[in-house]
Amino acid sequence: MNRTSLRRTLVPAVAAVAAISLTACGAANEDSNDSDKGLSGTLNGGGASSQEAAQTAWRAGFQKDNGGATVNYDPVGSTGGREGFLDGGFAFAGTDSYLSDEEVAKAKETCGTDAIEVPAYVSPIAVIYNLEGVDSLKLSPQVIGDIFNAKITKWNDPKIAELNDGVDLPDADINAVHRSDGSGTTKNFTNYLTNVAPENWPHGAIEDWPIKNGEGANGTSGVVAAVKDNPNSIGYADASQATELGHVEVQVGEGFVAPSAEAAAKILEVSTRVEGRPATDMAIDLDYKTSDSSAYPVVLTSYLVACQQYPDAKTADLVKGYLTYVVGTAGQQAAADNAGSAPLSAALADEALKHIADISAK
């Protein structure tokens, strides 16, 4: 090969590639004319992956109104989100479990004032199952605890049969699927079991699945896929992500309740606040033991955490704008439509909006 001819061909080729990459234009759906509408800048948050579907809807809604703004949400997990928020990496965080008292103190350090913590995403966790020919399954919290604790290992166990008269339960091993990654869904689910059936589920409320029984699957989609692919499986997942699978009706008081947005919203209404928290903190102490059979107690309550004050006005405005949208009617409706969550009640939303309105620059 002649070297000069090589150079003659290489140089224009390289130049062409460089030109293409320099003149590369934005995506066809990103209209640059939008950018003078509303707020602008980049807002970075992250946290609970359970919020991701809702966050996608919220981002879309917010960015449509504020063409110059870009919101990023890293679904890194609740702990990662809280940690990122506390060390200043995220301007806001989504978390499936409210801040611990220690974290509240630390947040105050990071922000200078008390942090804002508002519920943003409430969604029922469905106990999903895959049993051929079984369209409806009723379980009590005690039995659910026993199943996931590997004390009940057969589908035709008398304890299950007792609750399901007339259902033909197979003589098969139960394949109990849990999350293999650390997860807020696991924490909320185990929190429910710990509160309602502590004897059947003695392992506490924890993000990492504590025992070595059952099948582990990565992420909500992994659990759903595992249950779907393997007959005789049972698992737990955000109800909206598992619409094709059977949902267990969970015993509440005397009745059995299937997961639904309305029933999940109901449980928030009958619950009280966590005591001893700052005024801007809306952490909710879910009343899992309620006997109100119109409420579905296995819910995921996911919060948004933000500072009251930010060093620069731009971030403050963005956080304020975004959170206002999220908690407001439009945002909650968008989440309900696109993520199957339960919209916040008017009272809760109003209180949250009040706190958010106080966000300002230092």
């Binding site: 890194v76 702990t79 029984n213 582990g216 990565n218 393997n230």
Partner: protein, 310 residues
């Protein structure tokens, strides 16, 4: 070594010009930048992992760090070892197809096909493993449990396809092109005279391969397997997506409770970890780094020893 290096004549006689000094300085610098990067990785892992060693048992959830990392290391080694058991014989066969069996015109395309396997990103292997392979393997596992259930490996219960064996198969597929490409190079280098001599003595093709190609290529194949093992040990996303990991120590390959692997465990647990748990994860990363280091070390050492002999 196949080729000679620069002779001393070049460096000692040439006049030292500024350009020379700068250029040699640059290239030496680049070489040592690599050392610095590697040292940086090692130092970073050590510093960040050290708190895990001194952490109290309460924080770890195990008596000490060794007990915490051991199940993960066990899973990593077991999955990689099974992958090697599957991949190495296949790779030797494939390398022979390319070097000795296939007609010359076909050998190139066959080699390219195998290399395509190396071009598939691990996240795509993950998709394939979880959506295609795992469901297909479930009936096989049920059969294994029914018919070979008396063996500890196949005890079951076979309720899921996302087992350690499935993960190992995925790893084997990923390691296959690496082992094949090195093995086929080695096989192709077998002296033609040896082969012709064997054939002239009336050996069949298989006897010729056994008598000339295998002894010549043994060290090359072993080092190829070691490098494939290195790839299998460090694989992250595919395992994280495919394996149903619960962290037990068990030789049971087809149950729904499987040992996790270090890399997959980091990917799965890192987001939800805080404080000392991050250190624990990084310490496990250090362990993986050291193991991979040793495996690669062994592989290269065997290869270089073989080269001297050949």
């Amino acid at each position: 070594m196949a080729t000679a290096h620069t002779t001393e004549a070049g460096s000692s006689r040439a006049v030292r010009r500024p350009g020379d000094v700068i250029f040699s300085g640059l290239s030496t610098g680049a070489a040592f930048l690599i050392l610095a990067a590697l040292a940086g990785v090692a130092i970073f892992l050590t510093i960040e992992g050290w708190p895990a060693v001194t952490a109290s048992s309460g924080e770890l959830g195990a008596d000490n760090i060794v007990l915490h990392v051991w199940p993960l290391l066990f899973g990593t080694l077991l999955a990689a070892a099974i992958a090697m058991l599957i991949a190495t014989p296949l790779a030797i066969g494939l390398a022979l197809v390319i070097s000795h069996y296939a007609p010359r015109r076909l050998a190139g395309p066959i080699g390219a096909l195998i290399d395509l396997l190396a071009a598939v990103p691990s996240v795509v292997y993950g998709l394939w493993g979880i959506q295609y392979l795992a469901p297909k393997m479930l009936p096989v596992y049920q059969w294994l449990q029914d018919n070979l259930g008396f063996l500890p490996f196949f005890e079951g219960p076979a309720t899921t396809g996302r087992t350690l064996l499935t993960a190992s198969v995925v790893l084997a597929v990923m390691a296959l092109p690496i082992i094949t490409s090195i093995s086929r190079e080695v096989f192709a280098q077998t002296p033609v005279l040896h082969q012709e001599a064997a054939l002239a003595l009336g050996a069949t093709r298989w006897e010729m391969i056994r008598l000339t190609v295998f002894p010549y290529g043994r060290s090359g194949v072993i080092s190829a397997a070691m490098l494939g093992l290195g790839r299998a040990l460090g694989e992250t996303m595919a395992i994280a997506m495919v394996l149903s990991a619960t962290g037990v120590i068990s030789f049971n390959l087809i149950s729904n409770q499987n040992p996790s692997t270090i890399a997959a465990n980091i990917a799965l647990k890192f987001p939800e970890s805080t404080g000392v748990h991050v250190n624990v994860l990084i310490f496990s990363g250090l362990t993986l780094f050291v193991v991979t280091f040793l495996v690669n070390f062994a592989g290269r050492w065997i290869a270089s020893r073989g080269q001297v002999k050949g």
